[in-house]
């Protein structure tokens, strides 16, 4: 019945709907797009040509000048294999980083940011909690002090699945890493009216910031911490449910990786599996406001269909780059040791 109705609805819409193609009368000028991310050990710079919608990108584009300054001093940049520019000079909290990019026929883009202080995790605890779907890991991280009101954070959770097996009588281990995102228990979560701001995720890895990818970073504000403690669940029903909405970048375990479906004692390919366990490493970044606003807008821009209908306010792409697009935003991170979960 539901299927029948769900088929009828689009048919009805199709019957009465009519496509109205129209040309885009107003076109923005071409600009430089910049992503400059000073992180703990280095600064990554990505410079691209932002072609106006309706216009054409040049066949080959290369900026004529890229100047990175840290506290007013120009730093050297080297090109990486994946098309980034990189400066290996370490940074400290409070360092002022600015970037100026020039290219022929385009306005010179300029942006600046300040490296935020690195957060300090005093305590990280993982414990097992019962839920309707069985036991789920619950992780609590405690900062050395409650964050200030306008402090912004990014959270990444690295999950390592470790299998132990005997091969030719030798004890071996093998592991796979993937990223997961924080979730809430269904029975505790008012998911129907949940503030989707609690589930904002972007992809971040080594200076590369994307809306979607394999390294999900959850954006947090100071209000997510209760007296300096942020607590979240893993592998709960909510994780998978909300992942569908927020773009969980978790990757399935590759096919050649037999566990964790294998029971202890299973034999496969001459191996005798002894057991599997999981461990988690939490990375917490303090984000500059520019980085946070840009990342949040990047996430929101994936959901523009409702705003195109005129139903909700549109998702504007935040930028602090003068005469250009993109962001110059910093972050500073720390990570915990691997946290073991027993008896899962």
């Amino acid at each position: 019945m539901l299927r029948r109705l769900s088929c009828l609805l689009p048919l009805l819409v199709l019957l009465i709907a009519c496509e109205i193609p129209f040309s885009l009368e107003e076109s923005a000028p071409p600009k430089l797009f910049v992503q400059c991310v000073p992180a703990d050990g280095a600064t990554w710079v990505r410079v691209r040509y932002a072609a106006p919608v309706g216009g054409q990108a040049p066949a080959a584009f290369r900026p004529s000048a890229v100047r990175l300054r840290v506290n007013g001093t120009v730093r050297e940049l080297s090109e990486t294999a994946d098309g980034f520019l990189r400066c290996a000079a370490p940074l400290q909290a409070g360092d002022a980083v600015s970037l100026e990019v020039a290219a022929e026929g385009l306005p010179t883009a300029f942006g600046t940011t300040t490296v935020p202080p690195c957060p300090r995790i005093c305590e990280a605890v993982v414990r097992q909690v019962d839920s309707d779907d069985g036991p789920v890991p619950c992780i609590s991280i405690r900062l050395d002090a409650p964050p200030a009101e306008h402090a912004f954070f990014g959270l990444q959770i690295l999950r390592r699945q470790v299998a132990a097996y005997l091969e030719n009588g030798i004890l071996c281990t093998e592991y796979r890493d993937s990223y997961t995102v924080p979730g809430r228990l269904l029975k505790e979560a008012d998911i129907l009216t949940a503030d989707m701001g609690d589930y904002v995720q972007v992809d971040y890895a080594d200076g590369g910031l994307e809306g979607w990818g394999e390294h999900p970073m959850t954006l947090l504000e100071a209000s997510h911490f209760e007296e300096g403690i942020y607590r979240f669940y893993l592998d709960s029903f909510d994780v998978s449910l909300l992942a569908g909405l927020s773009g969980d970048g978790r990757q399935p375990v590759p096919e050649d990786f037999h566990f964790p479906d294998m029971e202890a004692g299973d034999m496969s390919g001459g191996r005798t599996y002894l057991g599997v366990t999981e461990m988690y490493r939490v990375r917490l970044y303090r984000l500059s406001p520019e980085f946070y606003y840009y990342a949040k807008a990047l996430y929101g821009s994936q959901f523009d269909f409702l705003s195109n209908m005129g139903l909700i306010p549109p998702n504007f792409t935040y930028s602090n780059v003068k005469d250009g697009l993109g962001v110059v935003g910093a972050l500073a991170g720390t990570e915990t040791d691997f946290l073991w979960v027993e008896d899962l």
Binding site: A17, P21, A28, D190, G310, P314
Partner: protein, 714 residues
């Protein structure tokens, strides 16, 4: 023939009397009765003169005849949709009850029903307005030059007055439209002293859909349910102690109810099936007692004690049942705004050259928004776990205000009006004081030409907290706070009002308006706005709007032609969104409305209305980032950067009115909305053709809608 001559003579006399009154040339020593009769009987016929002869700008007066005549979407005359046709007003999404006046946000209009503020002004998510046109006597729609007696909103005032019941005889009407029915009854309770007027509306969509859904479900294991109903009731009780001492009791109740559900069959061994249900109920309630006293021919007053409430309640439930366990989750959201108010207005004519208005008001507001979530788990029939969670926000505030204004007839062709409104808003522990000057001036250089200008400052202490542009039950009103300050607007308006030829009018008005402390939602994608600390999900900014309106009219009694043209700009500046000013989504550069009516062949009246406006604006990606091996990486640089195709449609209506003896009448109305079936864009997407060229693709959703309505009056 003789009677006709007498009527014509009386009409000329009455119009002349009003003209003299308008020029301030009141005959001293004229008897009270003569003057009262003159004004009361000639008010409607002399509206055009009244507009010309006061210093008021931006005022449009509509009487019941204008509001109920013509086409009616789905069979119900709609006040908001009538106002949407007027110059200086943008309608927003098609068929909705959006009212964006002079670049406003839609939630900054003051709606008064018999002097009582009404917060929820539509049914069915905006498809119908809350005002039952059957009972409406008239309305005043102010777009600029707001008199000092009005305050609390930025952009417009819609002052709706319901009709007193007939003091001598019983009357009524019954109407059946496409999706609703209306019943109206009036008459004396005590002949010549007390009367009532009651109107009831109800949609009957659920009457049709409920059996249809039951029929569709009859062979299905999974049952789908859903229904919607809206209803409202207006009542007015009037008692005349004397011709100069009148007491009114007014009541309004509006209710919307929507429910939907899905029930799965029970799995093997399970005691019941899983299911999910949602029920939403929202509406308004107002009640007032109004005392009108005419102390002398120079002084009269109106005191209103009222209560107004707007509320919504949403309930979801999920039931997940397996053979041994059951998880049930209930979510209840509720919000309301309640207002208790007392206001007194005085009109005083100290001499022939002054008209003084003054008054005071006191409002007590209660705001509430809350959510309650409950989750219960049963294992083998025994309760195993129970979780509860909830949050709520409650605010209380007082809003005293007083005002005074004087319309000073300096010379026979020069009038100056000056007023001041002082308002105080005090939500617990915090107070805002808002002095609001109101100035207006009128000069008549010739008999057929009037020049006017006005300046007003307005403040709004309540914000509509909404994550969407839609009129949803989840929207709630919240008071101004330290980080969401009261909104302010100042507007300068002026115009030329002429009567170039007999039966013709030609008016031109211009305005410049600025708005401060506007809010825009900056939270994550959700339909439900936050409850606690809601201000953090909103950014503050500014707005400005300017333009001109042109109105040309011709009316000879049987043929009426009206043309409205608006040239306007509406802009916003929110630093959190974009560095600089940008065009607002309802920036309709040009708007044209052509209205015509023709009364012919004794029984028939034909109406036509053509609407055109420059397309609304939406936000498309502005740039695509060029990166090898990757496409579709878009950047949204500027908000509302794309104009949708222009909007136009034609509505036509035909009234057939047959009058029977003893005053009974039958009216059939055929209305055709969007007569030439032009689908106007409702939503749009960015597309790329095979050559890589970008273009927009919009979809129209509202086709031609014919409606037949029957009304019987008795």
């Amino acid at each position: 023939m003789r009677t006709r001559r007498i009527r014509q003579g009386l009409r000329r006399f009455l119009c002349g009397g009003v003209l003299l009154a308008g020029f301030g040339l009141r005959a001293s020593g004229a008897g009270d009765d003569v003057r009262t009769d003159t004004l009361e009987q000639a008010t409607v016929t002399a509206v055009r003169e009244r507009m010309r002869n006061t210093a008021q700008t931006g005022l449009i007066h509509l009487d019941n005849k204008k509001l109920t005549a013509g086409y009616a979407v789905f069979g119900s005359p709609d006040i908001i949709k009538t106002l949407q046709l007027l110059p200086g007003v943008a309608a927003g999404n098609e068929l909705m009850s959006g009212l964006y006046v002079h670049g406003g946000d839609g939630n900054d209009n003051l709606f008064l029903l018999d002097g009582v503020p009404l917060y929820n002004i539509s049914h069915f998510g905006g498809l119908f307005s809350s005002f039952n046109a059957d009972l409406v006597e008239d309305l005043d729609f102010y777009k600029s030059g707001f008199p000092a007696r009005y305050g609390g909103r930025l952009s417009s005032v819609v002052d709706v007055e319901t009709r007193e019941g007939d003091m001598e005889a019983y009357h009524g009407s019954f109407s059946v439209g496409l999706i609703d029915g209306r019943l109206q009854l009036e008459g004396p309770l005590c002949r010549g002293k007390t009367s009532f007027n009651v109107g009831l509306r109800r949609s009957w969509l659920d009457v049709v859909t409920t059996p249809l859904i039951a029929y569709a479900n009859r062979r299905e294991d999974t049952k789908v349910g859903g229904s919607y109903a809206m209803s409202d009731l207006n009542a007015r009780l009037t008692h005349r102690f004397s011709p100069t001492n009148v007491l009114d009791f007014c009541f309004y109740w509006g209710d919307d109810y929507l429910k939907a559900g899905l029930d799965y069959p029970a799995e093997q061994g399970a005691p019941a099936g899983s299911g999910m249900h949602v029920g939403v109920r929202w509406g308004s309630l107002t009640a007032s007692a109004s005392h009108r006293v005419r102390y002398s021919r120079n002084l009269h007053s109106r005191t209103v004690l009222y209560y107004s409430q707007s509320h919504s309640r949403t309930a979801y439930d999920f039931d997940l049942v397996s053979d041994q366990t059951r998880l049930r989750m209930d979510d209840n959201d509720a919000s309301h705004i309640r207002e208790l108010g007392l206001k007194s207005d005085f009109d005083w004519y100290p001499d022939d050259s002054h008209h003084v208005r003054c008054g005071l008001s006191f409002q007590y507001h209660g705001y509430h928004s809350g959510r309650q979530f409950t989750s219960v788990t049963w294992q083998d029939g025994l309760q195993a776990d129970r979780q509860e969670d909830g949050e709520s926000a409650d605010y209380r505030s007082c809003e005293p205000a007083l005002y005074a204004e004087d319309e000073w007839f300096l010379r026979h062709n020069l009038t100056v009006s000056g007023g001041l409104r002082l308002a105080l808003f005090a939500p617990g522990g915090r107070a805002w004081f808002s002095p609001e000057p109101r100035l207006a001036c009128k000069w008549m250089p010739g008999r057929a030409v009037t020049l006017k200008c006005s300046y007003t400052l307005m403040s709004q202490f309540a914000h509509l907290v909404s994550a969407t542009y839609m009129d949803l039950p989840s929207n709630s009103w919240m008071p101004a706070t330290a980080s969401a300050r009261p909104m302010l607007s100042s507007q300068l308006a002026g115009g030329v009002y002429t009567i170039p030829f007999r039966h013709c009018t030609l008016n031109v008005e211009g305005w410049y308006k600025t708005m401060d402390h506007l809010l825009v939602y900056n939270g994550s994608n959700t339909f439900v706005p936050p409850i606690t600390a809601w201000e953090k999900s909103f950014s503050e900014g500014r707005g400005r709007s300017y333009g001109m309106e042109l109105e040309a009219g011709y009316d000879n009694g049987s043929v009426a032609l009206t043309a409205y043209y608006t040239l306007s700009w509406s802009e916003r500046n929110f630093d959190a969104v974009y560095a600089g000013w940008y065009l607002d989504r309802n920036d309709n550069r040009h708007k044209v409305n052509l209205l015509a009516s023709w009364h012919f062949a004794r029984f028939f009246t034909l109406f036509a209305n053509w609407n055109y406006h420059t397309g609304n604006r939406i936000t498309f990606p502005t740039h695509e980032i060029a990166e090898a091996g990757r496409s579709g990486w878009y950047v949204y640089d500027a908000p509302y950067n794309t104009k949708l195709p222009d909007y136009h449609r034609l509505d036509v209506g035909l009234d057939f009115l047959k009058t029977f003896p003893r005053g009974h009448s039958f009216k059939a109305n055929l209305s055709v909305y969007n007569a030439y079936n032009h689908l106007n864009p409702a939503l749009a997407f960015l597309e790329k053709d095979e050559t890589g060229r970008f273009y927009g693709k919009a979809y129209g959703l509202v086709p031609i809608i014919p409606t037949l309505t029957f009304t019987y009056r008795f």
